[in-house]
């Protein structure tokens, strides 16, 4: 009886403790990185010398260095596992050996694998040199010392700096350069992506629409469109998906990293305010509510977690709202199988730090020689072959060059039979260095550059909020935002009363503290400019 009791006690203990399995880790890792405070000065001076640097760097633009056989562990995102991955790995290796005398251990990951593995990889200090990091994690990564301060290696980043131009500086959080952004669109205006067949059938043209936030009654043009669709196709859902104006929070203002305390009016102010109390937010919620009540948006829209692309592909969805860019129509056709019409909603958008830093390529702290890793990264921003390889695969097998200098499937190969194909230029260093895919305009990269250069720029462009002092508040705010944002944005609840409840809950969770901290950091940053 006694033995039984002891064993049961042990078992009970074991059950209770099972939680802690996996908490252990390597505690003895030697500190290999200098403390960031020592390097503050050097990075500051570098930052101020930006303009003068650009002239000098033109002398050597090949990015070639002697890597001395260093092995880079390069983690990058892929759309899915393809049979040609091994060949691509070998080709990357060969290329790097030839140009840099470096070996590359390629670590391709799909989004799902990345999400489940990256935090453990970093926490356990697994071999990793370069990886994509996402803005929500920056303060944790810095606090936990997962990433290297790249400001220590500015000399090795000259080419990347030239490619990125002024956007290079967005990676600074205080004096800490967390990573480099990708070459892609720098702003995310909102648009309505609609099925072109029905759109045409009703006799509409994209030019007919002028939906702008200057005049919220202009949104009634969309009401009219939805009403006509409903009349012609009573069973069709006019609007579905996971987004709507009030959720496109990167568009209407500079969100300074999160949505709690923002610079309204596309960042054309320097006073931090709470967007959720603004007239604009209320207007958007009311429009959402109108569409919901009139049966234009799906009755499940606030619950549904499938993207608009999936819904449209399924065949019973007329339109969805998303962020648009110059070649949205081509991208959405590939994803939905339908020709689409893209109607800009709201009209404007601005370039803000968070648009550039949403994903950054960073150097992990477990890199054996961070300098070599940085040199490799620098090279990835200028190598055409590298950018084509990771995006399109092996030339001749997975893609060929057309007469227009665009990439396309070789004869006899299509989207279903290709052995390697990612089309994820937005997460690779520099898609502009590589080739664009067939179907895009020949001058697509120039279009992108024009688009980016014509964009309004937020007054806080280049400033990144360091949320470390307010992590507890941020955690609570995130939870409150989750609770109210979707219901309000899609208008499935009573706007008037819920909006008040939402704001009360935000302030109770410490919104004012976060806003004050943001204003303090922003003022300091503005003074330093």
């Amino acid at each position: 009886m006694k033995a039984k009791r002891i064993i049961s006690l042990l078992l009970a203990l074991a059950l209770v403790c099972a939680l802690f399995a996996g908490c252990g880790g390597d505690g003895g890792k030697e500190s290999s990185q200098e403390s960031s405070s020592e390097t503050q000065q050097s990075s500051e001076t570098q930052q101020s010398e930006n303009s003068s640097d650009e002239g000098e760097s033109e002398a050597e633009s090949t990015g070639k260095v002697d890597g001395g056989g260093y092995e880079v562990n390069y983690l990058y995102m892929i759309a899915q596992e393809g049979p040609n991955q091994t060949k691509v790995n070998e080709a990357i290796n060969e290329l790097a050996q030839k140009e840099l005398n470096m070996k590359v251990n390629v670590i391709p990951m799909t989004w799902g694998t990345y999400n489940s593995q990256i935090s453990m990889m970093l926490a356990a200090g697994e071999p990793l040199d370069i990886f994509p990091a996402f803005s929500g994690n920056f303060s944790t990564y810095i606090e936990s010392q997962y990433v290297v301060n790249m400001a220590d290696y500015l000399d090795d980043l000259k080419d990347a700096k030239e490619v990125l131009g002024v956007d290079f500086n967005c990676g600074y959080i205080g004096d800490f350069l967390i990573g480099l952004g990708q070459m892609k669109e720098r702003g995310y205006p909102t648009g309505l992506v609609a099925r072109k067949d029905i759109f045409d059938e009703l006799g509409y043209k994209v030019e007919d629409f002028n939906v702008t936030v200057e005049d919220y009654s202009s949104f009634e043009q969309l009401d009219e469109l939805f009403a006509k669709v409903k009349e012609a196709h009573p069973d069709m859902v006019c609007l579905d998906g996971t987004s709507i104006m009030a959720l496109q929070t990167i568009d209407w203002f500079d969100n300074l990293g999160d949505n709690f305390g923002v610079l309204e009016n596309y960042g054309q102010t320097t006073t931090i305010t709470n967007w959720f109390e603004s007239e604009q937010y209320k207007n958007f919620c009311e429009i959402g509510s109108r569409w919901f009540k009139n049966g234009y948006s799906s009755q499940d829209i606030a619950v549904n977690s499938d993207s608009g692309e999936i819904k449209m592909k399924a065949g019973n969805c007329f339109s969805f709202i998303t962020a648009i860019k110059p070649n949205t129509d081509i991208e959405k056709k590939a994803q939905t199988g339908y020709d689409v019409a893209v109607i800009p909603v709201g009209g404007n958008c601005s370039k803000s730090t968070s648009a550039v830093t949403s994903a950054m390529l960073s150097v992990a702290n477990s890199a054996e020689d961070p300098q070599k890793a940085v040199q490799f990264m620098n090279w990835t921003y200028i190598s055409q072959e590298f950018n084509d390889l990771i995006n399109w695969g092996i030339e001749g097998e997975d893609w060929v060059l057309t007469e227009d200098n665009l990439a396309a499937y070789p004869d006899g190969v299509d989207a279903t039979s290709v052995s390697y194909h990612n089309d994820m230029g937005y997460i690779y260093p520099n898609q502009f260095a590589g080739h664009a895919w067939e179907g895009n305009p020949i001058d697509i990269w120039e279009q992108y550059e024009k688009y980016n250069s014509e964009m309004m720029t937020s007054k806080a462009y280049g400033f990144t909020f360091d949320s470390t002092p307010v992590t507890n508040e941020e955690a609570q705010l995130a939870s409150v935002y989750e609770q109210y944002s979707k219901d309000l944005a899609f208008g499935v609840v009573d706007i008037e009363s819920k909006l008040k409840e939402f704001n009360d809950a935000l302030y109770a969770a410490g919104l004012q503290t976060v806003m004050d901290e943001k204003q303090k950091q922003l003022d300091a940053w503005l003074d330093a400019q």
Binding site: A12, F20, G24, S31, Q145, N304, A475, Q476, S485, V493
Partner: protein, 308 residues
């Protein structure tokens, strides 16, 4: 002296059994006891360079976010009340089903019933959430488009109306989880000496009397074991049930937010090993205390039924 000798003789007799125990015990020690040192993470500001033991201390700062909000009371209330309801409903329904199934004479049908009750237990909660969605969807749901109009009732905005969710969650959890307990109770009923029932039959006891006087008393040890094990997990919640099944709908948070979903939502954006360990530590400390207390209560009431 005499007694000691006997103990040793008994020990010798069981040596093979102890040897068989050894690998398991070593496994438990390595896998479950050594990592317990990692509990300190809950009190630290973790960084990878200094490692677990050399990171700076944070005191109780990591626990603040759990109690800092006025939501804390709601979250703790939800977690506790749902678990109490789950324990009661699943035990009662489980015993009922076990008694019914045990009385089925046809062995093939018995197997069929047994398996079909266990089946939902093996289904992934994500699939369950879509089954529930198929019933409750506002656009195409079976309830709003089929059942309710047939009964002449107004459609309900299920995913925005908190009224029904305590019931929906308890029913879903019961449907999904009851099979496991039922299986254990069926095994326990099979172990009851048949001669009790024969004697009761001879004395003219009704079926109901047989259940209340023979079956239930014989099941009490199993019930208590399962109960105490469940109480140990009372501060935990089935994440999938509270996150996936309500489709993460914001208006339902007041009745679906539990400790696990709160921690997930709060730390999704900011991460942080310290804070998630703090939440885990709190849950296990509460669970551990409750197991000890409930066992003590059971031991006071009837010592032979206590687990330890």
């Amino acid at each position: 002296m005499e007694k000691k000798k006997m103990n040793f003789a008994r020990f010798k007799q069981f040596i093979p059994l102890y040897i068989m125990l050894l690998p398991g015990a070593v496994y438990l020690f390595i896998n479950n006891y050594i990592p317990m040192a990692g509990i300190v993470v809950a009190f630290k500001t973790y960084n990878v360079n200094d490692g677990i033991f050399h990171s700076p201390w944070a005191g109780l700062k990591n626990f603040e976010f759990l109690f800092g909000t006025n939501e804390a009371a709601v979250i703790i209330r939800n977690t506790l009340l749902y678990n109490v309801a789950f324990i009661i409903v699943n035990t009662v329904v489980g015993i009922m089903l076990a008694i019914f199934i045990s009385d089925v004479m046809n062995t093939r049908m018995k197997k069929l019933y047994q398996s079909s009750i266990l089946l939902p237990f093996l289904i992934s909660i994500v699939v369950v959430s879509y089954i529930v969605f198929a019933l409750l969807s506002h656009e195409n749901g079976m309830f709003n488009k089929g059942l309710l109009p047939m009964l002449g009732m107004e459609p309900v905005q299920w995913y925005n109306d908190t009224t029904w969710w305590p019931v929906i969650l308890i029913v879903t959890n019961c449907w999904k989880g009851v099979g496991y307990g039922t299986l254990i109770y069926i095994a326990a009923i099979a172990g009851i000496d048949q001669s009790f029932y024969e004697a009761a039959d001879l004395d003219g006891a009704s079926k109901w009397q047989q259940i209340t006087r023979i079956t239930l008393p014989c099941l009490i040890p199993s019930i208590i074991t399962l109960l105490i094990m469940n109480i140990g997990r009372i501060f935990y919640s089935d994440f999938g049930l509270f996150y996936q099944v309500p489709q993460n709908s914001g208006s339902l948070y007041p009745v679906t937010n539990t400790i696990d979903t709160y921690v997930y939502r709060a730390l999704m954006s900011t991460g942080g090993f310290g804070r998630s360990s703090a939440a885990g530590l709190l849950q296990s400390v509460v669970g551990f205390t409750l197991v000890i207390v409930s066992n003590m209560v059971v031991r006071k009431a009837s010592a032979e039924n206590a687990i330890f």
